[in-house]
Symmetry: C3
Subunit: 361 residues, 3 copies
C-alpha cells in the first residue's frame, strides 16, 4: 500500500483523529543520541523504514532501509568505514546515499542511489526530517536546551505504543485524567479542578494551571521532601509540535527548610514519532534543577515516571484497540476540559490538510 493511495477527506475546521494522514514536514525524534552508533539499526517513521548509523567521525546518518536494486533491508548489511554495504549484492552507498561501488559492474550507474534523510543532533536527541528535504530548516527544531544544560539533571526512558500521536498529544494536554488514571503519582483531585488557562501562539497550544496552598502529588512532593506541607504548584504545558509536548512545572515552598530552595523546577519532555497511524515511538525526559547528584532522586523520578507513563500507555492502547476492533467507528463527546486537546487537533488537521494540498477559504 502506497501512502499516496490513502484516501482521506479533510473538512474546514476539522479535528485530527487517529485516521488523519500523518504530518511529514516536521522534525521528529529518530532516537536518543546514544541509540545511534556504529551498529546499524532500523526504525519505521511515518510508514517508512529507515536505517540509522554513525560515520567514523560520529555523524548520524539516516538512509532508506531498502536497497534501490531489490529492496533488501540495508540495515542487514554492514559498514565499511563510512560506506554502507548491502548484504545482498554488495552495493556500497556513502552517507549521502550515492552508490560508490557495485562489485558486479565495472562502473556505477548514475541512478544507483538510495534516499537519505536530513538529521540533526541536539544534546541527547537525534532529530530526523521525513518530509520534503527542501523544507528541512534546522531552526524549526524545538528547543530542548535544558536536556544538555549542566544546571539540570534528567532521567529518561522510551517505549513503543500501539496508539496514535493525536490521542497521545490529547492525553498530554489533558490533566483532568491525572487523579483517575494516575492516582498514586501525578494526580490530585484539587489539581484536576484548578483553574485552567488556554492560549494558542501560532501552532503552539499552551495551558497554564496554578494551584495555591495545596498538598503536592507524590511525583513532586517526594523528591522535594514536601509531602508534609502545602505548596503552590504552577505548570505550563505546551503542545510544541507534532513531535513534542513539554511541561514546565514549579513547586513553590514559601517557608523552605534551611539550605533548601524555595522554588523546585521540573521540565517534562515528551517526544513522539509516529511509526504509523496506529503505532508510535515515545521518548521522555524528567529534568530537574535541584539535587542533581542525588541518585535516590534519580531512581524515584525514573520509577514514578515510568509507572505513570505506562498507565497512559495502557489507556491509550485500550482506546485505540476499542476504536479499531469495534463495529462502530470512532465517536467522541467533547466537554469543556477537552478544549486544549481540540485546539491541538485543529492544528494537526490544518497542517495535514495543507500537506495534502487542501485549501480552505
Amino acid at each position: 500500500m502506497s501512502y499516496t493511495e490513502v484516501e482521506f477527506t479533510f473538512e474546514p475546521g476539522g479535528y485530527a483523529d487517529n485516521a488523519t494522514p500523518l504530518i511529514r514536514n516536521c522534525w521528529y525524534v529518530a532516537g536518543f543520541a546514544s541509540e545511534i552508533s556504529r551498529d546499524i539499526i532500523s526504525r519505521r517513521f511515518l510508514g517508512v523504514d529507515v536505517a540509522l548509523y554513525r560515520t567514523l567521525a560520529g555523524e548520524p546518518v539516516a538512509v532508506r532501509n531498502r536497497c534501490p536494486h531489490r529492496s533488501f533491508p540495508l540495515a542487514k548489511g554492514r559498514l565499511d568505514g563510512d560506506v554502507l554495504v548491502c548484504g545482498y549484492h554488495g552495493m556500497q552507498f556513502d552517507p549521502s546515499g550515492r552508490c560508490v561501488n557495485m562489485p558486479s559492474m565495472p562502473i556505477v550507474p548514475a541512478n544507483a542511489n538510495v534516499r537519505t534523510f536530513p538529521v540533526a543532533e541536539r544534546g541527547p536527541i537525534v532529530w530526523i526530517w521525513m518530509g520534503n528535504p527542501d523544507l528541512a530548516d534546522e531552526s524549526l527544531i524545538p528547543n530542548t536546551e535544558w536536556l544538555a544544560d549542566p544546571a539540570w539533571k534528567s532521567v529518561r526512558g522510551t517505549f513503543p505504543l500501539n496508539s496514535d500521536y493525536v490521542s497521545m498529544h490529547e492525553n498530554l494536554l489533558d490533566q483532568t485524567h491525572f487523579p483517575f488514571l494516575h492516582p498514586g503519582t501525578v494526580g490530585t483531585l484539587e489539581y484536576a479542578r484548578s483553574k485552567l488557562k488556554v492560549r494558542q501562539e501560532g501552532e503552539t497550544v499552551i495551558i497554564d494551571r496554578s494551584l495555591k496552598n495545596s498538598p503536592p502529588p507524590g511525583i513532586y512532593g517526594i523528591p522535594t521532601n514536601l509531602m508534609h506541607k502545602n505548596v503552590d504548584r504552577l505548570s505550563e504545558a505546551r503542545f510544541a509540535s507534532p513531535a513534542m509536548h513539554v511541561a514546565f512545572a514549579q513547586i513553590i515552598d514559601h517557608e523552605p527548610a534551611e539550605g533548601r530552595p524555595s522554588v523546585y523546577r521540573f521540565n517534562i519532555t515528551h517526544l513522539v514519532t509516529p511509526e504509523s497511524n496506529g503505532r508510535i515511538h515515545y521518548w521522555w525526559f524528567n529534568t530537574r534543577n535541584f539535587d542533581l547528584d542525588n541518585s535516590k532522586t534519580d531512581d524515584f523520578l525514573y520509577e514514578a515516571s515510568t509507572k505513570a507513563y505506562l498507565e497512559d500507555v495502557d489507556a491509550l492502547e485500550a482506546i485505540l484497540n476499542a476504536v479499531q476492533t469495534d463495529v462502530e467507528p470512532q465517536f467522541d463527546l467533547n466537554f469543556a476540559p477537552d478544549k486544549p486537546g481540540l485546539m491541538m487537533r485543529k492544528v494537526l488537521h490544518q497542517r495535514a490538510a495543507a500537506e495534502a494540498g487542501y485549501q480552505f477559504a
Copy 2:
C-alpha cells in the same frame, strides 16, 4: 468498520451462511448468571463490546464497553456502589447509563450518557437484547424452565468457537454426523439411518427421530446402566431461535430393573451468541430427570458431553477455516438429510433480510 457499512445482497428464498448479517432483534445469552458479578467483565456480542456487572441489589447490568467521551473501555473502570466509574476521567454512570457525575465539570452535560442493553435473568442464564430496545419483549425469551426446576439436574459448560452460528445450528440439526464425528459417545449408525420427521412451526424447525429396540449410544446407555440391552430412543430437536437449540431425548426401557424408571429423559440445551460472523460464544446444559444426586452421573455426563462438543468445535473451526482461507468461496452440495438445516438457514436468512429492510414479494 461500521456495521452499517456491511454490504450484503439478500435474495428471495436464500439460505443464510457464514457471511449473512447477524440477526440483532433476538434475546441472546450474555452468560451464565454465575459469570456476572460485582467484578466487571467485558464480552463482545454481535460485534459490540459490552461491560457486564451486577448492582448491589444483584440486578445484572449490560452497558456499552466504550466511554462516550474518549472510548476508554468501561470494564477497565470500577464500581462505586451501583455506579460505574470510568478509569480515564472518572465519569460516573448509573445502571441506566445516565452520567451522574463528571469530576472535572461543575454540572453534568445532558448528553453525557452511555448506551445500555436490556437484560433479563432466567434461572442460571442472563439474557441480553442487542437490537432495537423497543422490541425487547421478555415474552420472546425462549423457555428453559427445566434448568431451574428442582425435579431436574444439569451439568453444563462453555467455550468460545472460531465458527459461525449458522454452521453451529446446522450441525445441531444434523444427526447423521453422530457416528462419524462422535463414534465413542452419541453416535450409532442405526440412529443416523433411522426415520426422520421434519416440521416447522413459525420460525421453529423441529425434527423427530424414533429408533425402536436398538442398543443405546454410550452417552445415554452408560448413565442409565442400559448398555447391555436394547431400548427405544426418541428425540425431538428444535431450532428454537438464533440463540438456542434444544433436544429432548427419551430412553425407554420396557423391562426396567426393580426400582429403576422405564423412561429416562435428557434435555440438552445449546445456547449460541455470535461475537462476530466468525466467532461465537457457546454455553451448553445436559439436564436429566433421574439420579439427581449421583455425582458419578454428573461427572460422566460432563465429560462425555465435553468430549462430543469439542469434536464439534474442532469440525466447525476446520470448516470455517477452510472456507475463509481457501481461494474458492463457500460451496455446498445439499442432500436429503440436510433438509432441517436448510429450513433453519432459510429462517435466519428471512429474519436477517427483514432486519436489513429487504421486502420480498
Copy 3:
C-alpha cells in the same frame, strides 16, 4: 476470496513480480515421494488445499481438501482401503474422486464427487498439475533423471519460505550475490565478476559462466579436496519451468591426484511450488557423480547447502516483508547482471497473461 476475483492488469512486455497471478498450467512438485504415504497429509498449492495419500498399491492420489458437502477438510478423515472417508458425515470417495458411499442415504447422488488432481511420480518426486486437467501432459514434466540414477548420489532438504516464486527464481538466476550473501560457501568475488553468457531456448532461460584457474569456493573445493589449488569452474544454470531451476556445475582439476577424477560434477536441483503469492514450498537436491558412498561428503554437502539456502531464505523473506509492509510499493533498479532474471520474469509474465486470457498483438 475467489481467485477468479483477483484483479491484475497485464501489459505487453511486462515483467512478473510478487503480485502477478500464479501460473496454473504447470507441473509443480507436491512433495518428496517419501512424504506421501498411507497417512493423509494436506498442503496448499496455488491457494488450493490438497489432501495427499497413497493407495494400497502405492499410487499417489491428490484430492481437493474440502468435502463438497460442507467443506470439512478430507485430510482429517481416514483411509478405508483405497477409499477416503470424510470425518464429518462419512462420505466415501474413491481415488478418482467419485463418491461411492453415503451412510445417511440409500443411494449416492450423481453429483456427490470431489475434485482430484493429476499426479505423476518420478524418482524421489511426486509432481502435481493444478491447472486445466486436459492440458496435464506428462511429457511436460521436467527432466530430473539424475535424481534416480545409481551413478549419482544426492543429499536433499525442504523448507517453506515467506517469499514468492518470482523472487526465488530471480535469486537462483543471479550469481552476483554469492560472495555477499554466501561468503562462507558458494561465493567468490572472482566468480561474481566472471563472464556471463545468457540465452533463451523457448521458455527456458540459460546462463553459462566459466572461470578458469581460480580457487574453488568451499562448497565445491572441500568435498573434492581441492581447496589448496586452482581449478576451472564451469556452470550452466537453467530456469527450466516455473517449478524448477537446475544448475549443472563442473570442477575441473587438470592435474588430478592419483585415483581421483579430473572432472567433478554437481547437479543442483531447486523445486518451487507457490502456496500463495507470498509463500512457497521449496525442495532442493545436491547431486554429485563422485564419492557416492562417502557419508562425510553427504554430511558436508547437506550442511553447506542448508546454510547457503537458509541465507537465501532470510534475504528473500526480508525483501518480501519490506515490499509488503512498507508504505511505498515495489520498485526495482535493474542493472546488467539482472538480465537473466528479467528474461525469466518476462516468460512468467507472458504465461500468466496467456492464462488470464490476455492477447498481446
